[in-house]
């Protein structure tokens, strides 16, 4: 079995582009990914594509994957649309890794796209929250923010944590995102701003919630032979973990963590042969501030209830022991649902090649963590730097 390698990764600008189509946004992401390949890349060498999208707004609900590759001129290749809510492209990457490792394909395009900001308020209301458990959770009147707010209410009750700790996530991630030219909300914020913003779903305020975003991301996954041929410094996918969880929060034993994240991380660490302590950075799924706290604990960065301490001590700041969301995270970079998972890989790829906007010092191992809904589906990928000439 060959290992799978990332040889290129790129994204469109993330933001609000109501006049852009999801296909043209993906063109941007693909072009940036191709541009990041060290060697001479021929799009005709792409064997297969896996593209993630929730399909917000309906749009091309059927066959939207082929509609994207057709727009790129990648005619004839098998293209599969992957839907796992906000983890759609995390799972698209997983499919690509499986295709390469199995030997069925040598070069696979994984990516995602979403357009969320071109609809009327009414249409937007219908589409936000479709990833929760529909029959019970949604029809109790809750929203996506509401479900994570319920988690936050239980977390604040169970642990020594405050609303200010939630706000520290926003301050850190906005600080990072302000350096990222692709970021949707690329501005800094103060702790005071992030604690005094109006509530969206108490205890979560506006600064505890990611925006709705338009954007696309693309990753080129290659076999060892192709990676050796096209990349000077490819990135190895050394751990690919994934897990499903109960779709409704109410159906889980824990209201303060995401069990599927824990399982997916365990699998990824085991495959990569590493422990959380070995990580040099992580891109985690911070759709809401509480999600980043839960991620620290689910991914084994600290014990249960210790996440606020990490934030307070600056452990996950860019100059800390384990920088988290140097891209700005979903909070600042933005969250175009289907594009988020492979968007995180864009940052991991850049970090491990020393090209990041907020560069961690000499990283060797990084992680991406992509959550669908409130935890119904999770992928965790571990990436390792490959030294020049190693392959």
């Amino acid at each position: 079995m060959t290992d799978a390698y990332i040889i290129g990764a790129g994204q469109s600008d993330f933001g609000s582009f109501p006049d852009r189509s999801y296909r043209s946004l993906f063109d941007d992401a693909f072009d940036e990914a191709v541009g990041s390949v060290d060697g001479d890349f021929d799009p005709a060498d792409v064997d297969e594509a896996f593209l993630g999208t929730l399909g917000v707004g309906g749009r091309q609900l059927g066959l939207s994957g082929p509609a994207v590759t057709e727009h790129l001129g990648l005619h004839g290749i098998p293209t599969t649309r992957v839907e796992n809510a906000c983890a759609a492209s995390g799972y698209a990457l997983r499919q690509a890794v499986m295709a390469v490792r199995s030997g069925m394909a040598d070069l696979v395009l994984a990516g995602g796209y979403e357009v969320m900001t071109d609809m009327s308020g009414d249409h937007t209301k219908w589409w936000l929250g479709v990833s929760g458990e529909t029959e019970w959770e949604r029809l109790s009147g809750t929203t996506f923010a509401g479900v994570y707010a319920q988690m936050a209410s239980a977390y604040l009750r169970e642990h020594d944590a405050t609303v200010e700790d939630l706000s520290r996530v926003a301050v850190k991630n906005h600080g990072n995102g302000a350096q990222n030219p692709h970021a949707h909300l690329g501005f800094e914020c103060t702790l005071k701003q992030a604690t005094s913003a109006p509530d969206v779903a108490a205890p979560l305020n506006l600064y505890h919630c990611c925006p709705t975003t338009d954007g696309a991301s693309a990753v080129l996954v290659a076999s060892e032979a192709v990676a050796a041929d096209l990349a000077d410094a490819p990135v190895r996918v050394s751990g690919a973990g994934a897990a499903s969880g109960r779709v409704g929060l109410f159906q889980r034993d824990s209201l303060t963590g995401i069990p599927a994240s824990e399982t997916a991380a365990d699998r990824a660490y085991e495959e990569a042969g590493i422990a959380p302590e070995d990580l040099d950075f992580a891109e985690v799924h911070d759709c809401f501030a509480i999600a980043e706290l839960a991620a620290y604990e689910d991914l084994g960065f600290c014990d249960r209830g210790e996440a606020p301490r990490l934030l307070r001590a600056g452990v996950t700041d860019p100059d800390g022991d384990l920088p988290v969301n140097t891209s700005g995270g979903l909070k600042s970079k933005g969250h175009p649902i289907g594009a988020t998972g492979t968007g995180q890989v864009v940052e991991a790829f850049a970090q491990l090649r020393g090209d990041a906007h907020v560069q961690v010092k000499d990283p060797a191992i990084g992680l991406t963590h992509n959550v669908g809904g409130s935890g119904g589906g999770v992928t965790v990928h571990v990436f390792e730097r490959v030294e020049e000439g190693e392959l």
Partner: protein, 479 residues
């Protein structure tokens, strides 16, 4: 509220009551309109309430008060002038929500404020234990009838050997239209305001019916008469030998507002609560058209109906909030679609949504809610045995969905009732063995005041309406 069942004939064995939490003070109306309000105070239904939810609340109160269980009920008689739909039976859903047997006979009286009397007679004339529920929430133009409309529901468990025995009943009908009417396709009641014609008709029709009751009119202790406003019962009383005090005992309109068909029924509860043992109580229902129903009761032991306490409870709301809650200030419709739950899918889950019917795994005994899919504990894929959860549970997680943030299904409700809390509630199985969690909306409370650990109790409410069909289910209210 219970009767000991030692009476001598068929009548009222137990009673139930429901008044919406919100109350509008007449002073608010006076301030807004610059003229005296027609009632001192009115109960205002929340946007997620209607005649059906109030009927279920009152019916549940009656069933919890008496010696009869839901499974004992053989007949369900309901009355309202405001059924949720102009056409479609609504008694079956009340029966399902209360857990009545599907074989119960049902009757529905409507289209007249006299419907409450008709429903009580239907209950008395049936065989076996009957549940009679009268619920109403009339609407009117804010400049006219809307200034006095209220809401509420009364329920009566009717059985043999009751403490409150119906000793006689009379009717009077005559061709007298236009006193109170609602045109087809309209939701608002209107009046022609032909003062003398109206007062004379009401007084003559009601007093004629009551005068024919074979009782000793000189010993009547309390009377509930047609009461769209506080003065009307006394105007009727001028043609009858009852003193003002007896009439006051059965008059509640200045406390709950004009509750339509439910007004006289709630007044009857007040009358029953006010009298001593071995008393005579009268009810005089009236509906434009015109028809009157006279009922005479001999009260061996007066039940505690709880009217006084219910009237004193509640929370004052300002006039604009009341208008908003009633939908007077416009209604919205949300365009678009997505995440649609079909009607059959919803109906499949009504045992859970109405009565929290959870499942017990036959292999390991764990409790699953909803009772579908593999067992959450052992993974077995066996059919669950249904086991109900307690309607009182504890908040495990909670948030507040702010104005403008609601899912489309709840946009109109939120516009009318404001931000609402959504919780994950944990409730134990009624048999005491195990518990389960479920998501639930909270209602009838300040959403920001609810915390993890608080106790909450379920009430049937309107959840949302799609394709014209309102879906009902339990919401939860802090204890």
């Amino acid at each position: 509220m219970t009767g000991a069942g030692n009476g001598t004939g068929r009548g009222i064995a137990a009673t139930g009551l429901y008044l919406p939490r919100q109350r509008l003070d007449g002073a608010e109306i006076q301030a807004a309109w610059g003229a005296a309000a027609p009632v001192d105070r009115a109960a205002v239904p929340a946007a997620d309430e209607d005649a059906l939810t109030m009927a279920v609340a009152a019916g549940r109160d009656a069933l919890s008060s008496g010696d009869l269980a839901a499974a004992d009920i053989a007949h369900l008689a309901v009355a309202t002038t405001t059924p949720p739909l102009e056409e479609e039976a609504f008694a079956p859903r009340i029966g399902a929500a209360l857990g009545l047997d599907s074989a119960v006979s049902t009757t529905t009286a409507t289209q007249s404020t006299a419907a409450g009397g008709e429903a009580l007679l239907s209950g008395v004339d049936s065989d076996g234990p009957a549940l009679v529920v009268v619920a109403d929430a009339p609407e009117g133009d804010a400049a006219a009838v809307g200034q006095r409309v209220g809401a509420g529901a009364a329920a009566f468990l009717v059985d043999d050997d009751a403490d409150v025995v119906l000793t006689d009943r009379t009717r009077e009908s005559r061709d007298a239209p236009g006193l109170r009417l609602r045109e087809r396709g309209r939701t608002e009641v209107s009046e022609l305001d032909i003062t003398t014609y109206e007062r004379t008709t009401i007084r003559d029709v009601v007093s004629t019916a009551l005068d024919r009751l074979a009782i000793d009119h000189g010993t009547v202790d309390a009377v509930s008469l047609y009461q769209p406003t506080g003065d009307i019962p006394h105007r009727i009383g001028t043609a009858l030998p009852y003193d003002g005090g007896a009439i006051d005992r059965g008059t509640v309109v200045d406390d709950v507002g004009d509750a339509g068909a439910a007004a006289v029924a709630i007044g009857l509860l007040a009358a029953l609560e006010a009298v001593d043992p071995d008393s005579t109580v009268i009810a005089g229902f009236f509906g434009s058209g015109a028809t009157a129903v006279g009922l005479g009761f001999e009260v061996a032991t007066a039940p505690e109906t709880g009217v006084t306490a219910a009237i004193e409870a509640g929370e004052e709301v300002p006039y604009p909030a009341a208008l908003r809650a009633r939908g007077t200030i416009g209604e919205t419709e949300v365009a678009g679609g997505g995440a649609h739950v079909s009607l059959p899918s919803w109906q499949r889950t009504t045992p859970q949504r109405y009565r929290l019917a959870a499942g017990r795994c036959p292999d390991c005994g764990a409790v699953a809610f909803p009772p579908e899919g593999a067992c959450p504990a052992c993974g077995a894929r066996e059919d669950y045995e249904l086991t109900p959860l307690s309607r009182t549970g504890e908040v495990a997680a909670v948030t507040v969905i702010g104005q403008g943030g609601a899912p489309p299904e709840f946009v109109e409700q939120q516009r009318r009732d404001g931000p609402f809390a959504v919780a994950i509630v944990e409730s134990t199985a009624i048999d005491g063995d195990g518990s389960a969690r479920f998501p639930a909306q909270l209602t009838d409370c300040d959403p920001g005041s609810v915390s993890v650990g608080d106790a909450v109790t379920g009430r049937l409410r309107r959840i949302y309406t799609v394709e014209g069909v309102t879906r009902y289910g339990l919401k939860f209210v802090p204890e």
